[in-house]
């Protein structure tokens, strides 16, 4: 098993209720944060995500991306929060993102839910190729920053 593992889940995330389900799942975790949403009564974060789809000039069957980062050892929670924030900031200029840090199951690990639709209406959706590019860059970054730890990427069921 590698020291750090990035995995983008295979699921299609196309259902109408995917925003509520995935964001609610992530928001139940111990630590939660993200970019591209406000905490406003009467305007749920899931609706703010959905609005990007409504306003987008692009189309996509996939509505959300879900990937995790797991660790073979236990990491300090503060370090994980900083890492989650750094990763989120990579997506934030274009895409809404919610992250959660799960400390209940196994070693603490990170979950990310990213809107496939940009909140800029004229920007393209986060396609499979673009997402793969983001995660490959992330893998390179983690390898460099946490050298000599091993970092693997599992993208939609295929290991790299």
């Amino acid at each position: 098993m590698s020291d750090i593992r990035i995995e983008a889940f295979k699921g299609k995330y196309e259902n109408d209720d995917v925003y509520e389900k995935l964001l609610d799942y992530i928001a139940k975790m111990t630590y939660v944060g993200g970019y591209g949403f406000s905490c406003i009564p009467d305007y749920p974060i899931s609706e703010q995500f959905r609005m990007s789809e409504t306003c987008s000039s692009d189309s996509s069957a996939r509505k959300m991306w879900h990937f995790i980062i797991t660790f073979s050892a236990s990491w300090n929670h503060q370090l994980l929060i900083s890492l989650a924030n750094t990763i989120s900031m990579g997506f934030a200029p274009e895409y809404q993102i919610l992250y959660g840090i799960d400390t209940e199951k196994g070693n603490a690990h990170l979950h990310f839910g990213i809107n496939a639709f940009s909140y800029h209406p004229d920007h393209p959706v986060l396609s499979k190729e673009t997402m793969h590019g983001y995660l490959t860059q992330l893998q390179t970054y983690l390898k460099r920053y946490y050298s000599p730890m091993t970092v693997t990427l599992q993208f939609l069921g295929k290991g790299e």
Partner: protein, 99 residues
């Protein structure tokens, strides 16, 4: 309220200083007191309507961009070493209420 050919008449009560001020302002504008008051009311109404329209027309894109500052503040709390892990978890529970 009295109805006349020119419109309806209303009585208003003003402090003496305000009445004098109204007269001076109206005279400077070349208007009667009634004309000046009507102008002020219409301006206020237009400003109110424009403000409502601005709020309604603020795009989702702009709302989301504006939210980034709020998100940045929350992150500054989450990455602050002086806050305990328990406090940071409370922030997460609060965010969850808005999902």
């Amino acid at each position: 309220m009295k109805k006349t050919k020119k419109g309806d008449t209303i009585n208003i009560r003003l402090p003496k200083e305000t009445k004098e001020l109204l007269k001076t302002l109206a005279k400077n504008q070349g208007k009667s007191c009634s004309g000046h008051l009507r102008l002020l009311i219409e301006r206020d109404a237009n400003a109110f309507i424009n403000n409502q329209n601005t709020q309604q027309n603020t795009s989702h894109e702009q709302i989301t961009i504006n939210s980034l500052k709020e998100n940045q503040f929350i992150h500054s709390l989450l990455t602050n070493k002086e806050f305990s892990n328990k406090s940071k978890a409370i922030i997460g529970r609060e965010i969850r209420k808005y999902v």
